[in-house]
Every structure is written in structure tokens, then in C-alpha cells.
Amino acid sequence: MIVSETTETLYSEPEVDEHELIRRVSAGDEQAFAIFVSRFSSMVFRFLKRMVFTEEDAEDLTQETFCSIYKHRSSLNPNKDIRPYLFTAAKRKAISLIRWRSVRSMVTPLTSIHEEILESKQVSAFESIRHQQQERAVNQALRSIHPTKRAVLILRFFEGLTYPEISQIMNKPEGTIKSIAFRAEKELRAKLAPMIESW
């Protein structure tokens, strides 16, 4: 297992074609897997951060996602786009955590204020205040949206996936995904309307 001491080593490999990279990963090439992680970990993290809101949880889930992919790497298909597969794995992890949170909240209620405090501690000191406010507003709005709608919303409008790809990830018909996307966009827009006008 290749674990470099410096991140520079991870990027020393010349840009590898994605399909070739997946083929090498599925064949058990450890170096290819390191490149794979460095190439896609940010994308997975961003999706998870919008799903679960806290940086710590998003990073934990990102690690779990890649552990899961590593375990089943021999089943990766180099002829297919890897993004739906990655987002499917990440979505499952996120939904599990969201379900656990709802159960945990029954035992030790974590109010939305506590969650905001946890989240606010994770914001980088270098980000602008406006960015912080925007992100907090979006997260607050997303938090109140059902996880399934939230996932479709993020995949479509933040990550730019197509409806067929989202349909595959969510395991729902394309028509259903379009309906969900429409309702989710409308719901998010209603929640953010005052902020959008002021910005």
C-alpha cells in the first residue's frame, strides 16, 4: 500500500487517462489508487460537506467512501464513468449518518444551534465573511430539506451531474429525479429568497 510522506509524490505521475486509471485501480495497482484518491477525494468531500454540513463528518465519510471503494476495487468498470459510482457510495454513507443523527437526537437532543456552533468552528479563517454567511445560509436551508431531495439538489445544481447519472446514483427513474429536482429547487429558492435578494 503506497502512502507517501509528502503529497508531492502523489502528483508526480503524469496525467493519466481516467479510463486507464480505473483499469489499473481495478487490477490492484496501488499507485494508481493513490492517484485516483488524489483526483477524486475533493469532489467527494464537497458533496459530503453539503450533505452532512460538518467538516469533520464530511472527512470521515470521505475516508470511509474510499475504504469501501478500495475493498471492492476489482469490480470497478473502466468503461463507465466513475463519478456516479463515487457519488453512490458517498450518498449511502451520508444517508446512514443522517439516519444515525436522527436516532441520536432522540436520546441526546442536538439542537440546530449546537450544530451551527460545531459547523462554524470548521470554517477556515481565510474565508471571507460573506462566503461564511452564504455557506451558512445555504447549509441551514439544505438542512431543512429531506435528505433525498438534498442529494438530488446537490448532485444536479452544485455538482452538475446529468439527470441520467443522478437517476443511476439514486436508483430512481429519470422522470422521478426531474420531479424531485424541480421541487427541491423550488423549496431551496423559497428558503433562500430573502438572502438572494439582499446579495
Partner: protein, 230 residues
């Protein structure tokens, strides 16, 4: 009367197709929706709102990615992989663990089967408890007269014998009226009260070797007639 055959969700697809080049709608569909929008100001307003919203989302900065995220992911994969391999190959660790689990399981099954024999319906447990107290009272009274068992010449023999008969009668009545919950409940209460009295009597007999016979006169079981009282 304004009519527009388009579904509201097509407005979102219209904006995505025309402004973001997502290519979800055909040219004919786009023309049809555009015509409907031009005829209906409400639809135009909705399209404008969707357009503004999507532009706003597009301008949103992406969440900041922590430093060394990829490195930490690889380390996590390495840890996960190592622990799995170690667990699989350490026979001297998991074999005893499995053996211990099997032993505990087998012991539990055996213990459960033993315990299961003692599990009786609640009413039968009450009768059993009552019978035990009658037996204990019988023994206590016999010992009072230095007898190993209560014999016919013992002044308490008749009372104890009738207690046993009434106990059997209650058990028979319970079976006879097993489908009547009111009678079952009444019998259960009667037995429970008997147990309470018998328990007190047993303790009194065992603690006091000299009992005035007059104190036992309050217990007169000769007038018990279960059938007529039900």
C-alpha cells in the same frame, strides 16, 4: 382563459437547457415552452426566478477542502486494510474467541432448557406457591408436636387436610372455567390472598413453638364451598 399545457417542472428544464446548455429539451419543446411563457406573465416571472436562483447557486464558492485530504484518505484505507488482514490471519486470536462464543452459546441453550422446565402459567405458579406454603405449615405444625409428619391424631390434621382439598378444588375450578376471565381473575385473587395468610402463619408457627390453639380458630376452612360461590 389562460391555458398552458406545460408541466411546471418543464420551466426548470427550459432554463437549464437555454441558459446552461444542459440539452435536456428538444427544439420543439423549447419553442412550445417559450410560446407559453410569452403568453403568461406568471410563467415568465417563475422562469426569471429560477434563472436568478441557478445563477446565484453557480456563483456560490465551493466548500473548502481540508489540506492533505487525499493523504489522510489513503492512510485510512491502509489502516482499514491492515486490520482486516491482521484479523484474518491471526488464527491464535480469533479461534479461541470463536470457541469461547460457542461455549457461552451452548451454556446458554442448556441453561435455558433447564429453566424452561420451570416456566409455568402464572395461575399454576400461584397454586404451586400455595401448595408449598401449605406443606411448610404442615411441617411446622407437625414439628410443634415432635412429629416428622402430620398424622391423623394431630389436632391440626383436619384443617391442613381441608386446605389441601380446597387447593385441589381451586385448581379443578380453574380448569373447568378456564375460558372465563372473570372467574380466573377471582380465583387468582383468592389464591394470592391465601398465600399471604399462609406465609404469615408459617412464619408465626416457625418462630413460636407455643401456639395457643384458640389463635388458629379464625381459620375455618370447613365451610368452603367453591362451586356454590362461583
Amino acid at each position: 382563459m389562460k391555458t398552458h399545457p406545460i408541466h411546471p417542472k418543464q420551466l426548470l428544464l427550459y432554463v437549464e437547457t437555454t441558459e446552461w446548455n444542459k440539452g435536456e429539451l428538444s427544439e420543439e419543446e423549447i419553442r412550445s415552452i417559450r410560446d407559453a411563457i410569452h403568453r403568461d406573465p406568471a410563467l415568465q416571472d417563475e422562469v426569471n426566478k429560477i434563472s436568478s436562483h441557478l445563477q446565484w447557486i453557480n456563483r456560490m464558492p465551493q466548500p473548502a477542502v481540508p489540506d492533505h485530504l487525499a493523504q489522510r484518505c489513503l492512510e485510512a484505507v491502509h489502516r482499514s486494510n491492515s486490520s482486516r488482514l491482521a484479523g484474518w490471519w491471526n488464527l491464535h486470536l480469533w479461534a479461541p474467541a470463536v470457541t469461547l462464543i460457542m461455549l457461552v452459546f451452548t451454556a446458554g441453550v442448556w441453561f435455558g432448557s433447564q429453566h424452561q422446565q420451570d416456566t409455568l402459567p402464572a395461575f399454576d405458579l400461584l397454586l404451586q406457591t400455595q401448595a408449598q406454603y401449605i406443606s411448610r405449615l404442615e411441617t411446622g405444625l407437625a414439628q410443634r408436636y415432635q412429629q416428622p409428619v402430620l398424622t391423623a391424631d394431630n389436632p391440626w390434621y383436619a384443617q391442613i387436610d381441608y386446605l389441601k382439598q380446597s387447593s385441589r378444588a381451586i385448581a379443578d375450578a380453574s380448569k373447568k372455567y378456564s375460558t372465563d376471565p372473570v372467574i380466573q381473575r377471582g380465583l387468582s385473587l383468592a389464591v394470592a390472598q391465601n398465600i399471604s395468610v399462609l406465609q404469615s402463619l408459617c412464619e408465626y408457627v416457625e418462630q413460636n413453638r407455643e401456639i395457643p390453639d384458640a389463635d388458629m380458630a379464625i381459620i375455618d376452612t370447613t365451610k368452603l364451598d367453591l362451586d356454590s360461590s362461583i
